[in-house]
């Protein structure tokens, strides 16, 4: 199938790799939109998810609002904000941030709630203030889920940042829109492959970060449990 040949030719052509319309430049733009949006989303969503999880009230409301947020169509938000504020990065950032918030809220809340009641009570019994309980006890335990939420969000945002091209900005989505307009299917295919690869790499990279960030104590605890189980079986 010559399509594959055309695709490879497109991907390996030297023009693709230099200049403002080249793959590196567009990838950087794409990542910029994604990371800025996820950062803003985290700044909004983490306090909400963690806060509500710590207090323990309003969780149902938060989860349901979060689900409603998941139902919002990103393309629609993009076009709506564009129609209100015009050309620029704002429509893209708003749409992507809206997409990134729900998974972070939900996962942070569930993570915080998963802390054993006994552990919390023990900490309070030791005289820890609310803040200390949150930072020293709850957050570390909630970390795996919090990280999972951030990971899910980021990967989703990276896959969706192609939207930026729809309102005339850059990023890897340009290959889709331009390829379509210029009737250059290898370009469309190339763009698709690049986005897919970038999403996968993001997923893998954040997986590494997650292993690094999750407290060694938690990792050790599960390792200890495994050893304990082995000992019991042998006995």
């Amino acid at each position: 199938m010559d399509v594959l040949g055309d695709l490879i030719r497109w991907l390996t052509a030297p023009e693709q790799w230099s200049g403002p319309a080249g793959i590196p430049a567009r990838t950087v733009q794409h990542l910029w939109y994604s990371l800025v949006a996820t950062a803003i989303a985290a700044a909004i969503a983490l306090p909400i998810g963690v806060g509500i999880g710590h207090v323990g009230r309003g969780g149902l409301l938060a989860i349901n609002l979060s689900n409603l947020g998941r139902a919002l169509p990103s393309l629609g938000i993009l076009i709506l904000v564009f129609t209100l504020v015009g050309f620029g990065v704002v429509p893209v950032l708003v749409a992507l941030t809206a997409l990134a918030i729900p998974p972070i809220v939900t996962n942070s809340y569930v993570g915080m709630r998963s802390v054993d009641r006994d552990v919390r009570e023990a900490a309070e019994g030791m005289g820890m203030t609310g803040w200390q309980v949150l930072w020293r006890v709850e957050l570390p335990v909630a970390m795996p889920l919090v990280m999972a939420g951030i990971r899910t969000s980021t990967v989703q945002v990276v896959a969706t940042a192609t939207l930026a091209a729809f309102v005339g900005l850059g990023g890897l989505g340009r290959y889709l829109i331009d390829g379509f307009a210029q009737r250059d299917l290898p370009q469309v295919l190339g763009g698709a492959v690049l986005v897919a690869v970038l999403s996968l790499l993001t997923e893998l990279a954040l997986g590494r970060v997650q292993t690094l960030v999750v407290s060694k104590g938690l990792a050790e605890r599960s390792a200890a449990a495994a050893v304990g189980a082995k000992v019991q079986k042998a006995a």
Partner: protein, 225 residues
């Protein structure tokens, strides 16, 4: 840098008369949205089932199928639809094939995880009781896998409702068509109607499917799905 006259903010955000005049267009869009979503989830489920069974029956297929579906999912939907146009043009095949593919990806994973999650002990008990493989599948394994499968159907449905709006860029779109109308005419009303309706649709579908999930697997209600 000239800041042009705020033509959009001066115009009303919602012109109710527009909605009144275009009720039939709005309903047509909603109906198209429901049809595309319904058909995609239906076909996705029908196609996912044999694939999931194959992955269970022949464990070597398990990782490749999961890996493959995981990778395909990262392909931007717009690209997929664009690439289908030379083959199926403006006919319903273009959006439907793409949408079905995405639901398929979600459902295969959930079906496999669900069926695999059935306790080995339960399966062995059924075999000991003399159940044929088919009977075992339908009367024991599937019902037990139901919570996870339904969770997949829920995610697939809500995702599809969102993806249908993207098909507006290739001549379809359901409620997404209203987005484009608002964009082309630089007029917020159809946009807002489209966004609100598609969000409500997704939310309602999720609620509906949660009740189905409850009903079909009451014993699993305690579990977090």
């Amino acid at each position: 840098m000239t800041d042009g006259p705020p033509t959009v903010l001066a115009a009303e955000l919602i012109r109710w008369s527009w909605i009144g005049d275009h009720l039939d267009d709005i309903l047509d869009a909603l109906l198209q949205h429901l049809q595309l979503t319904g058909l995609a989830v239906l076909f996705g489920t029908l196609l996912a089932f044999p694939l999931a069974l194959a992955a269970i029956r022949w464990p070597p297929l398990y990782s490749p199928i999961l890996g493959f579906t995981g990778v395909l999912f990262t392909i931007p939907s717009l690209a997929l639809f664009i690439l289908l146009i030379p083959f199926t043009g403006l006919r319903i095949g273009t959006p439907l094939i793409g949408l079905t593919m995405y639901t398929l990806l979600i459902l295969v994973r959930n079906m496999v995880e669900g069926l695999r999650g059935v306790d080995r002990d339960v399966r062995e008990a059924a075999q000991a009781m003399g159940y044929t493989p088919a009977r075992q599948l339908f009367r024991v394994e599937l019902p037990l896998a139901m919570p996870v499968i339904m969770a997949g159907v829920r995610i697939a449905t809500v995702t599809t409702i969102g993806l249908v709006t993207v098909t507006a860029l290739i001549g379809w779109g359901g409620l997404g068509q209203l987005f484009l109308d608002g964009f082309t005419l630089n007029f917020p009303t159809p946009l807002i109607v489209g966004v609100v309706l598609s969000a409500l649709l997704a939310f309602a579908a999720d609620l509906l499917l949660v009740s189905v999930q409850w009903g079909l697997a009451p014993w699993a209600r305690g579990r977090r799905s």
